[in-house]
């Protein structure tokens, strides 16, 4: 990686550290009650003290988020490819999916408990799948169909069939759209998992640690669990960025444009 990219991480790091210091100072300086807003240092202390509980909860919630994410991606991509192949389906489903995506799907969590059982993890996973599915389906379907007409005509002039056009043009064309969906869906999966856990499922998860400790006014533990949830979201987001980079090397090739003049000079 080139130096400027490393430097780019500098300013946000500095701002983040300064923010934490200001937070710490403000809580101490203004005498803010610990139960309203604990100091970052005390959150960190509780994170270490309750590490066994919080890390276990993080691991379990992370598993729900990741498994729901993977299933949601799989379903979204498969349906997108399927509807591209059959345009009538696409024209019927795509606007509907956009409408459903605009509704708060996590609100379905209690319903899903009734459908899939309140004690198991299935209902929580189902919420994650539903939340992930729509952005993945909508964006991927768009990428598969949003192809320049000249590119399709070109393929047809080579006597290429629908399958070759899907493989050589539509799927690579959809990759950037899919990557955007993934950036969106990866952190969403953690949010969905935690909100779903507020309503049911096993009691040793991040969502339950947050609700039960908040009910007991143990806000510092609550905050420690929130910190853990943030870390999971960030890790998934980072994985999404890595997937984007690895799957589309052409997007990250050098930015230099070679001009006609420069190139003519090279030849003479």
């Amino acid at each position: 990686m080139r130096l400027p990219r490393l430097w780019a991480a500098g300013p946000p790091l500095v701002v983040g550290v300064v923010g934490l210091v200001l937070w710490e100072g403000a809580v101490a300086g203004f005498g803010i009650q610990e139960f309203l807003l604990p100091r970052p240092s005390s959150i960190f202390t509780h994170l270490l003290e309750d590490w066994a509980v919080i890390s276990h909860a993080g691991w379990e919630t992370g598993r729900i988020a990741v498994s729901g994410l993977l299933v949601g991606i799989l379903l979204g991509v498969l349906l997108a490819v399927f509807t591209t192949r059959f345009r009538v389906l696409h024209d019927g489903l795509a606007p509907l999916a956009v409408a459903i995506n605009a509704t708060p799907i996590v609100a379905l969590a209690p319903i899903f408990n009734a459908w899939f059982g309140i004690t198991g993890t299935l209902s929580n996973q189902a919420v994650v799948v539903a939340v992930v599915f729509f952005p993945v389906f909508i964006n991927t379907a768009r990428g598969l169909t949003d192809v320049h007409p000249a590119e399709i005509e070109l393929m047809r002039s080579y006597a290429a069939g629908d399958w070759a056009i899907l493989r050589e043009v539509r799927i690579p064309n959809a990759l950037p759209f899919f990557a955007n969906a993934l950036r969106l869906a990866a952190p969403l999966s953690v949010i969905a998992a935690i909100v779903a856990e507020y309503f049911g499922g096993p009691q040793d998860r991040i969502g339950n640690v947050i609700t039960s400790n908040a009910a007991l006014a143990r806000y510092d533990v609550t905050w420690a669990a929130i910190a853990m949830a943030s870390v999971i979201g960030l890790v998934l987001f980072a994985v999404a960025l890595v997937v984007e980079r690895v799957s589309m090397p052409w997007r990250f090739a050098g930015d230099e444009e070679i001009t006609e003049e420069l190139e003519r000079e090279r030849q003479t």
Partner: protein
């Protein structure tokens, strides 16, 4: 050139109507008869909306005529397309961002099941033909518009199609690049002895490149006149030749007659 077919393209009584059977129908082309001989360079020129691109797509079997027939190398256009007789270049270079320059040129060869060794040998030869030897490993977006269009031409020629169909390929380029590209295209045309049908709206471009300029009128598109061009071996000096101006004027007069007739 192929000795078995003395005519490359025959367009016979072609009509093209867009739309269903209603009042909104647009007759894009009416009664088009045109023959192109092997090795010939023919330009189609006319006001916008005259159906010149439609005619090109009918020849290339990307559209089907409402009436009449298109025969390419003594076969129906559809068969010619399946036989990979066409190379096409559009105004939009249509290069795939995700393929390197060399891999773009090799795409039609992959679709035609060429071996890997044959493919890379051919793409190297093609890059040499369009003078982009050093850029095979680059991605398209790293190249300028003119260079991208040369890659597009290299790709169209990679499998040695017998007919090259070009739809305003230099339309998006600046004037100097455009003239440079025209010179390159003529050089490639001479080297490969391909037959070319070329759509443009530029009078100097049509005059400079062609053996014949076909002038179309609009709504419905008809062939209103055909201007023969005999400029011998064309160089950059040809553009300042009195004979070049005389023929360009003839094309211009033909186009004016078309516009006045509307």
């Amino acid at each position: 050139m192929n000795a078995t077919s003395d005519v490359a393209v025959v367009v016979d009584g072609v009509h093209k109507v867009f739309g269903g059977a209603g009042a909104d129908d647009v007759t894009a082309l009416a009664g088009i008869d045109l023959a192109v001989v092997p090795g010939e360079f023919v330009s189609l020129i006319g006001p916008s909306g005259c159906g010149k691109s439609t005619l090109l797509r009918l020849i290339g079997d990307l559209l089907e005529p409402t009436a009449g027939t298109v025969t390419v190398f003594a076969k129906p256009a559809h068969q010619a397309r399946l036989d990979q007789d066409y190379g096409m270049v559009f105004q939009h270079p249509g290069l795939f961002d995700w393929r390197s320059v060399a891999a773009n040129i090799e795409l039609p060869l992959e679709l035609h099941d060429w071996s890997k060794a044959d493919r890379s040998a051919r793409s190297a030869a093609m890059l040499e033909l369009v003078r982009l030897e050093e850029f095979g490993g680059h991605y398209p977006r790293q190249l300028s518009g003119g260079m991208q269009q040369r890659v597009s031409i290299a790709r169209a020629l990679s499998f040695e199609p017998r007919l090259l169909l070009m739809d305003e390929p230099f339309g998006a380029l600046d004037e100097m690049t455009r003239e440079h590209m025209q010179g390159e295209l003529l050089r490639i045309w001479r080297e490969t002895e391909t037959t070319v049908v070329f759509v443009t709206h530029s009078i100097p471009e049509a005059t400079f490149l062609s053996n014949r300029v076909v002038v179309l009128s609009s709504r419905p598109g008809r062939i209103s006149s055909v201007v023969k061009v005999d400029l011998g071996d064309r160089t950059d000096d040809t553009r300042e030749d009195p004979e070049f101006f005389r023929i360009a004027t003839e094309v211009r007069e033909a186009l004016r007659a078309v516009e006045a007739g509307e």
